[in-house]
């Protein structure tokens, strides 16, 4: 499993990364968590609003900070 957090480095993006990493740790999973700050890579992934999160190449959220429950749902559903 590969999780990507997209964000140029604003406070909301850091918060998103923190939430994702926290949930991953809670669930005891060990996926690859990557932070992407490059605008071109963001555009190629179809990200229009930051912060955004994708799991295995599928965008799950864009433009707001996810709640822990949402992240947990994405991770346990797949």
């Amino acid at each position: 499993m590969k999780i990507v957090v997209y964000g140029p480095g604003c406070a909301r993006c850091h918060e998103t990364e923190r939430v994702v990493r926290h949930v991953v740790e809670q669930l005891g999973l060990s996926p690859e968590v990557q932070k992407v700050t490059d605008f071109r890579a963001m555009a190629e992934a179809g990200v229009v609003a930051t912060p955004a999160v994708s799991i295995d190449g599928v965008l799950k959220i864009a433009g707001r900070i996810p709640k822990s429950d949402e992240v947990r749902e994405w991770l346990t559903a797949s």
């Binding site: 997209y6 964000g7 140029p8 480095g9 604003c10 909301r12 993006c13 605008f39 071109r40 963001m42 555009a43 190629e44 992934a45 179809g46 990200v47 229009v48 609003a49 930051t50 955004a52 965008l59 799950k60 959220i61 864009a62 433009g63 707001r64 900070i65």
Partner: protein, 325 residues
């Protein structure tokens, strides 16, 4: 309920605190400044909480993806107007400006239409709008909103006519975005209210120091700067005051909530409405951090045209209002 009760007793509470509790003498400069601060600070903060919560809920109905779908393939004039209006309600922060720009342009939204959105999104600010309404009444608020939209439409249209596509960084047009962005299930009301709540705690916790600083400056001007002092340097007769206000305002960056108490104090001391409006729009509509981040996708020429065209628009609005009012 608590909100309504608090709001209703503010004026009396402020008078009591200033003259009763602190024992300041009526008519002194200090007392006048303190009363201004003690009354305005909670009033503005209360308004802010209510408005940001409401706007947070409204914004949960709009996403950048949806706005992009509406704008893609529009003809220019209609597109400019739509983009300027959607810029008001679509959630947007300056750190999202670049991905949004690329997302719009690669989806076939014309460059000028994209700029109409990018101008109106920060300029017609919901916090500013309601603070203006609360402090000056609906006329000033309406003037601000309609001229903001007008500037966004005309600037975007102008940039579109100038055919500046070659001044966008080349890699932007060769980027092939995957998919249509995120597809979220429709939100239920509990989530929308929570979104409003989240927006409120986030924005209010971020802007309250600016608001208080702004009101403190306002209070100092209110108490200590003589009546009509501003009239000579920011009044109608001083033709150079509008361009000066714009030039000073562009590099300045303040949250809309922080600049309005200053605006209020300046107006109260005889500054002309157009000059003050131009200053405010330059501060919140054009900011140094945003132009720096846009440099990643725009060549310097286009940045300069962007700042120039929008600045000119603000200038014209400033003069117009000084003539009309």
């Amino acid at each position: 309920m608590l909100w309504v009760g608090l709001y209703a007793v503010l004026q009396r509470l402020a008078v009591w605190l200033t003259y009763g509790a602190a024992g300041l003498e009526r008519g002194t400069r200090l007392a006048s400044a303190v009363e201004f601060f003690v009354f305005e600070a909670p009033k503005v903060l209360l308004l802010l909480v209510l408005v940001v919560f409401g706007v947070g809920i409204v914004r949960s109905f709009f996403t950048p993806e949806r706005t992009r779908r509406v704008l893609a393939g529009r003809s220019e004039s209609v597109g400019n107007v739509l983009a300027a209006l959607l810029g008001i309600v679509t959630p947007f922060c300056s750190c999202s400006a670049v991905p949004l720009f690329i997302g719009f342009v690669t989806a076939g939204v014309p460059l000028g239409v994209t700029f109409s959105f990018l101008v109106s999104a920060p300029m017609v600010n919901e916090v500013a709008l309601v603070l203006l309404f609360g402090l000056f009444g609906w006329k000033v608020a309406a003037i601000y909103a309609s001229t903001g939209v007008l500037i966004a439409v005309v600037s975007g249209w102008t940039i579109g006519r100038l055919r500046l596509e070659r001044y966008v960084e080349d890699w932007v047009f060769t980027t092939r975005p995957a998919g249509a962005g995120v597809v979220e299930a429709p939100l239920d009301w509990a989530t929308r209210i929570e979104a409003g709540w989240q927006a409120m705690s986030e924005i209010v916790s971020k802007v309250w120091p600016y608001v208080l600083a702004g009101i403190a400056v306002g209070a100092a001007i209110h108490g200590y700067v003589p009546e009509n002092f501003m009239a000579s340097i920011m009044g109608k007769s001083a033709w150079w005051s509008v361009p000066l206000a714009v030039v000073i305002g562009i590099p300045m960056y303040s949250n809309a909530a922080g600049i309005i108490p200053v605006v209020q104090a300046l107006l109260g001391k005889g500054a002309a409405l157009g000059t003050v409006l131009a200053f405010m729009m330059a501060v919140i509509g054009l900011s140094l951090p945003e132009t720096i981040i846009l440099r990643r996708v725009l060549k310097p020429t286009l940045i300069a045209v962007f700042v120039g065209v929008v600045g000119t628009g603000i200038l014209i609005v400033g003069y117009l209002f000084n003539v009309l009012f």
